[in-house]
């Protein structure tokens, strides 16, 4: 039995996201949708695991806007539903969200936004709480694991009371932390879906689900909103408390506020126990009891000799090979082309430590790499005349790239677009996407073919294996030379951590010491200094490259880069 279905009154260790999922189950949720994004993904994953047993419909939607639309349909039909996303997903969903708050909802519907103060797994510290205030939407924020479960359940009741969507905000330190939760009852009754729309326009139960008449509907919504509950990145709570305090200043007098505006707390980053304790210490003028001075001095000295451990592509990662190819093709072309980046593990190509050949000078939201490339490609008339490349992952392609790609074709933007297809939504934990023939419920579904879509748009399309450096290099070189058309290269190779690949080596790889010339070779340590695979290290005593068998994933790509052919790969025979 799944832990999520633990019996009434049992105490279990739940991830914050599992506590939210359990709360939704206790509320009788029937439909759950989402788009994967750290730290939100486990809510949908854990609900998908119990979907058959609890008769739920759970889907990984193509993006967050569609996720909210699918959940809203369930609400309109009287069912309880939930749409789950990370902070920037709310931006994607916001166009529909504005209209949804205006039309109102029926069955309880909760938008869950899991946010990331400190950007622990994001490239931004986005805040979606302002959407709640802008759209007059109740906002709930749990303070611990039990509350995460309980408040989620209550959020559905609140949504039905006010006839509108309720926002539940979690943060990484809640979603990805775990703690004890005492479970409540799981309902046994299911609601039947039915959508009524023939009633009077202003009848929220039987009328059409539309935002007009706008002013009358807005007044109705405000009447239903009596209490709004509201706080890590922007001073949301602080501002609201100040407004409240000024309203009752006659009774309570003028108060001093300590917070972000007076510099007591920082405007950026998470408010961890140390930041809060230090701030309280300053307000109360007390010194925190801390470590003995000589110990503190010693740990500071010790810390200085610890080398940093930068993020990097994993051993066997197809992205390392892809960017090796991209970098070499751009160098061979000689016109200093560049790559517009996108969101995924491949974002690491924007950081110099990940590879010795970073080529990605832009990095924004999902899909924006292709949109930016489409724009850069039109700047030739103003003197920016160089090859424009862009990359995206397979899941990102479906999420937000297709409109930008159509834009590039329609406006004759000459770009080389590379899909880094690693067969799943890899960064967030291998959730299925429309390119795969499996859904969140593990049903067999038609796979939507990226190549066919690109061909239908009118692009020149090629497919290659990034591990085949020679073949991929030839295609890229010819694409960069081919002016005046939209070119798409799909690089297919599954992620090294994917369930089908993990722990299985294609090749045994070793360095033949008799062939490696070490520092005497003219390559200037191409393998360890530039290629940068965590499994390919440098033996300082022997002054030669060496493969760490514990870390090596057996992709064999490094054998193709050694000018001395000193890296030898032999195919692993048999299964496993």
């Amino acid at each position: 039995m799944s832990k999520l279905l633990s019996p009434d009154r049992s105490t279990v260790l739940f991830l914050g996201n599992e506590a939210i999922a359990r709360g939704a189950l206790e509320a009788g949720i029937q439909v759950a949708t989402g788009y994967p994004g750290t730290p939100s993904s486990e809510v949908i994953e854990s609900l998908a695991d119990v979907a058959r047993e609890r008769n739920l419909y759970v889907e990984w939607s193509v993006n967050e806007k569609v996720a909210l639309e699918v959940a809203a349909a369930a609400s309109f039909a009287g069912l309880r539903s939930m749409a789950v996303m990370k902070q920037n997903g709310v931006n994607v969903a916001s166009d529909f969200l504005l209209h949804l708050t205006a039309s109102g909802t029926r069955g309880g519907i909760v938008l869950v936004s899991c946010e990331d103060p400190g950007a622990l797994s994001s490239v931004n510290e986005g805040e979606s709480r302002y959407f709640a205030s802008m759209l007059e939407m109740p906002l709930l924020e749990p303070a611990d694991f039990q509350e995460a479960k309980d408040i989620t359940k209550w959020a559905f009741e609140l949504s039905e009371t006010i006839g509108n969507v309720v926002m539940l905000r979690s943060v990484t330190r809640m979603s990805h932390a775990s703690g004890n939760v005492t479970c409540g009852k799981l309902p046994t009754k299911r609601r039947k879906a039915g959508f009524e729309y023939d009633g009077p326009v202003m009848d929220s139960k039987t009328g059409p689900m539309i935002s007009t008449p706008v002013v009358a509907k807005h007044v109705l919504r405000q009447q239903k909103l009596k209490d709004v509950i509201v706080e890590e990145v922007m001073p949301f709570l602080e501002e609201n408390v100040k407004v409240l305090a000024s309203g009752i200043a006659g009774r309570i007098g003028i108060k001093t506020f300590f917070g972000k505006y007076d510099g007591t707390l920082p405007f950026a980053g998470e408010l961890n126990p140390d930041v809060v304790a230090d701030a309280l210490g300053r307000i109360l003028k007390v010194k925190r009891k801390f470590l003995p001075a000589d110990y503190l001095k010693d740990i500071q000295k010790t810390a200085a000799m610890i080398p940093a451990r930068e993020q990097t592509f994993c051993a066997g990662c197809p992205h390392r090979a892809s960017f090796w190819n991209i970098h070499n093709a751009i160098a061979l072309d000689g016109r200093k082309g560049f790559v517009c980046g996108d969101i995924g593990c491949y974002s690491m190509a924007a950081l110099s430590p990940a590879t010795g050949y970073h080529t990605m000078p832009t990095l924004h939201s999902m899909g924006s790499g292709t949109g930016l490339a489409s724009g850069f490609a039109k700047l030739a008339q103003f003197g920016l005349d160089k090859p424009i490349l862009t990359v995206c992952g397979d899941s990102t392609f479906y999420h937000a790239v297709i409109p930008a790609l159509i834009n590039a074709q329609h406006n004759r933007a000459d770009i080389t677009f590379i899909v880094l297809d690693n067969a799943g939504t890899a960064m967030t934990g291998f959730q299925p996407h429309p390119g795969l023939s499996v859904s969140a419920l593990k049903d067999v579904v038609p796979a939507v073919d990226i190549a066919a879509i690109c061909k239908a748009i009118g692009a020149k399309v090629a497919v290659s294996d990034p591990f085949d450096l020679a073949a991929t290099g030839r295609i890229l070189t010819s694409f960069l030379a081919d002016k005046g058309s939209l070119k798409v290269l799909i690089l297919r190779q599954a992620c090294a951590l994917s369930p089908e690949k993990k722990g299985k080596k294609t090749f045994d790889v070793r360095v033949d010491e008799s062939l490696c010339l070490g520092d005497a070779c003219g390559c200037n340590r191409l393998c360890t200094r530039i290629f940068r695979c965590p499994a390919l290290t440098w033996d300082r005593n022997k002054k030669k490259a060496v493969v760490d068998e514990v870390i090596c994933a057996g992709c064999g790509v490094c054998a193709s880069i050694c000018p001395q052919q000193a890296i030898v790969k032999t195919e692993v025979s048999g299964p496993g």
Partner: protein, 204 residues
């Protein structure tokens, strides 16, 4: 070994490099302790932060209340390092003169060390630092023990076995057996029990 009980909150940090099974080890440990009646909070980060980077899980084991998922600076009671440098890195932030440390001796080199821009301290330098900066420490070769059992990733379970034997936390072999029986298939169960026992045997 006998299972002990604790009344004071224990702050434990499990650390290593992405892919070493840090998350799995911390959850196994936490499930055992919840089962033993403690209130446990795990704070961790995963996602892209895992890719080749340092990872760490904070476990806070209380007999009565939910704690913040983050341990304050200087607040660790126990540090379990799946990699020596990461154990030392955590010690320099969360250590104090009373901290106890158990670490795997096998290094995983950071990219900066592989490229030759940075250098990795010697085994002796690391041991000397733990000698000065901890109340007690154990260094074991958990990766080799995992390799002997057929998979280096078993080093995380070897570390859990060793941790049980140190008596730093209130769980024993029986508790571990009960926990993995719930989640693992028979063949995986056997090799995990062997890894646990191999770890326990390394603590004298």
């Amino acid at each position: 070994m006998k299972e002990k009980t604790f009344t004071k909150t224990r702050n434990v940090i499990l650390t290593g490099v992405g892919g070493q099974g840090n998350v799995m080890a911390s959850r196994t440990l936490a499930h055992m302790l919840v089962d033993a009646g403690y209130v446990v909070t795990i704070g961790e980060t995963f996602g892209m932060s895992q890719r080749g980077g340092s990872v760490m899980s904070h476990l806070r084991i209380s007999h009565d209340s939910v704690k913040s998922p983050q341990i304050p600076r200087g607040g660790a009671d126990v540090i379990v390092g799946l990699e020596p440098l990461e154990a030392l890195r955590v010690l320099t932030v969360y250590g104090n003169p009373q901290v106890c440390v158990l670490y795997n001796s096998r290094p995983v080199y950071p990219i900066g060390v592989i490229t030759g821009e940075l250098s990795y301290p010697s085994g002796k330098t690391i041991r000397d630092a733990f000698e000065r900066l901890s109340a007690a420490f154990w260094e074991i070769d958990a990766t080799s023990a995992g390799l002997k059992l057929g998979n280096p990733v078993l080093s995380n379970i070897v570390m859990i076995g060793a941790l049980a034997k140190t008596g730093l936390l209130p769980f024993d072999r029986r508790r571990f057996e009960k926990e993995i029986k719930k989640t693992l298939s028979v063949d995986k169960y056997n090799v995990n029990m062997k890894a646990f026992d191999a770890g326990a045997a390394m603590i004298k």
